[in-house]
């Protein structure tokens, strides 16, 4: 028995093994980044916590499922679902959010919690209670040999997509006028408005974009994770943790938070399986203890 234990730990210190796990961590980080970045910047702009963000992720996955089944094309699903979710977010904004701009955070919690309930049953009503999956696109359906190991190429695609979105958003935020408006709004909403910047419009655009990214995450996750009613809740808390430890309002914070959570989730499960389920909570507690505003806070607290 002793023999087995030492043998095992050596296997786990093998560089190839660690490299593969690093990729797994990056892949999870990619997904979490797509989910958290919109939530984070929206919070930074309007102090608005959308608890129904996970619901949009779930809806994205289901719409992607229907599109992929109907058309046979994963890529079409990858384009249609985020657009649909962004449009849905626009409707949601027009019907509900605009009236709640001045509402207290408590009312926001109540409304978005209500939308979680509504969204869950809408999904159950339309798509039923069974679990589904979207097949990976043919081009990424196989595996590649990496460091002498088999690694699913779709996961490499997920990592690549995460990087792509990060870079695109970084460029958009740092180099465009809208990006500067958003950053100004996050820095100080009142002042930005009093200088003639239409922060509500910027908020609307960022909100729709962020929701669209959540929809994108849903489709992207579907070939790896299954599509089922309740998939929203299982990712929501992790997403909120990413937002908080990164520091709400910051693109780089969301990326850093996603990276940390991806890695701690992955390596925690490998090296500390007994506490794998709580490791991210513990991490968050420690980070908030040391830095009450998150790692990369936008506003000094």
């Amino acid at each position: 028995m002793q023999n087995v234990v030492t043998e095992v730990s050596q296997v786990f210190l093998d560089p190839t093994f660690l490299a593969i796990q690093f990729l797994n961590g990056l892949q999870l980080a990619s997904l979490l980044f797509l989910l958290s970045v919109g939530l984070s910047v929206v919070y930074g702009l309007m102090n608005f916590i959308n608890l129904a963000h996970g619901t949009l992720y779930m809806l994205g996955a289901y719409i992607g499922l229907s599109v992929a089944r109907g058309s046979g094309s994963f890529w079409l699903a990858l384009i249609v679902a985020p657009i649909f979710i962004a449009a849905l977010a626009a409707v949601f904004h027009a019907l509900l959010l605009r009236r709640m701009q001045a509402a207290s955070p408590m009312k926001q919690i109540l409304v978005t919690f209500g939308l979680i309930y509504v969204g869950l049953d809408v999904v159950r009503y339309i798509w039923g209670d069974y679990s589904h999956s979207i097949p990976a696109p043919d081009f990424f359906a196989g595996s590649v040999h990496l460091l002498g190991e088999v690694y699913p190429s779709y996961r490499l695609f997920m990592i690549g997509l995460g990087w792509f979105v990060f870079i695109a958003l970084y460029y958009g935020l740092e180099r465009t006028r809208l990006g500067a408006v958003v950053r100004a709004g996050v820095d100080n909403r009142e002042v930005a408005m009093s200088l003639g910047l239409n922060i509500e419009l910027a908020f609307f655009l960022v909100f729709c974009l962020g929701c669209g990214l959540a929809g994108l995450a849903g489709v992207v996750a579907a070939p790896v994770l299954s599509v089922y009613p309740g998939m929203d809740m299982s990712i929501l808390v992790l997403t909120l943790i990413v937002v908080v430890i990164g520091g709400p309002g910051s693109l780089r914070g969301a990326a850093l938070g996603a990276f940390l959570i991806g890695m701690f989730e992955t390596f925690g499960q490998v090296f500390f399986p007994a506490i794998a389920s709580v490791i991210v909570y513990a991490l968050m507690a420690v980070i908030l203890l040391a830095r009450p505003g998150g790692l990369l806070p936008v506003r000094p607290s």
Partner: protein, 234 residues
């Protein structure tokens, strides 16, 4: 006298349950400065924010020229020609000096351009690539004013601009504001610094308990010891 540029009449505002502005009226004329004085908590900052539309206006009239402002959201008030320098400057810390200036620029409306700003404030030109958070207090005040000028408004509202500035910078600020007045800009000033305000302003409004308790010219105020003692504690 001509019609005022900014005309505020019987403006009320609430902050949650507290009735902070209980009906204030004031005016600012073209090319002249008005100042609002008062103790802490008198409602001075609230008055500016309410004019700006940052605080829900409860009732009253706000007019800029012929345009009613009291129904407009803050960003429309700004675009209508009110340039605002908020309390504690409100420089955007994560934007560079240049971005701070260009993000709200409306060059088509007037003659303040980035070049002219950099001519007027050479210090800002030197630091154009620095993030807002790395500037000193005086530099931040310069940037906040320059940024407001970049909106090319007709009225400049400044909330306690001298606060925390060294005397030589206050002097510099005084000169700058005089130049702006000479250029035809109008000023509405909230000040703690009695001397600075009376020196610069034509009309003074003394605020207390959410109401205008006294108004008149700067020289009248200096002469009126009762008012300064009761409402300003000077």
């Amino acid at each position: 006298m001509k019609e005022p540029l900014l005309f505020v009449k019987d403006l009320h505002a609430w902050y949650g349950d507290s009735h902070i502005l209980q009906g204030i009226s004031l005016s600012v004329w073209q090319g002249r400065a008005s100042a609002i004085l008062g103790r802490n908590g008198a409602g001075k900052t609230t008055a500016l924010k309410t004019i700006m539309g940052l605080i829900q206006r409860h009732s009253g009239l706000v007019r800029l020229g012929t345009l009613r402002l009291d129904e407009l959201p803050a960003y429309r008030v700004a675009r209508a020609g009110v340039a605002y320098v908020p309390e504690a400057r409100g420089v955007f810390p994560s934007l560079t000096v240049q971005e701070n200036l260009t993000v709200s620029a409306r060059p088509t409306q007037g003659d303040w351009s980035i070049e002219r700003v950099f001519d007027t404030f050479p210090r800002l030109a030197e630091r154009r690539g620095h993030k807002g958070k790395w500037l000193s207090g005086g530099e931040q005040q310069m940037l906040a004013i320059a940024r407001a000028l970049m909106t090319n408004g007709r009225l400049l509202m400044l909330d306690d601009p001298t606060e925390g500035l060294a005397p030589n910078i206050v002097e510099e600020l005084n000169n700058l504001l005089r130049d702006l007045l000479d250029d035809g800009l109008s000023l509405l000033l909230v000040e703690q610094n009695f001397e600075f305000a009376t020196n610069l302003s034509n009309e003074i409004y003394v605020l207390g308990k959410g109401r205008v308790q006294w108004s008149g010219s700067a020289s009248d105020l200096i002469a009126n010891g009762d008012v300064t003692r009761t409402w300003l504690g000077v």
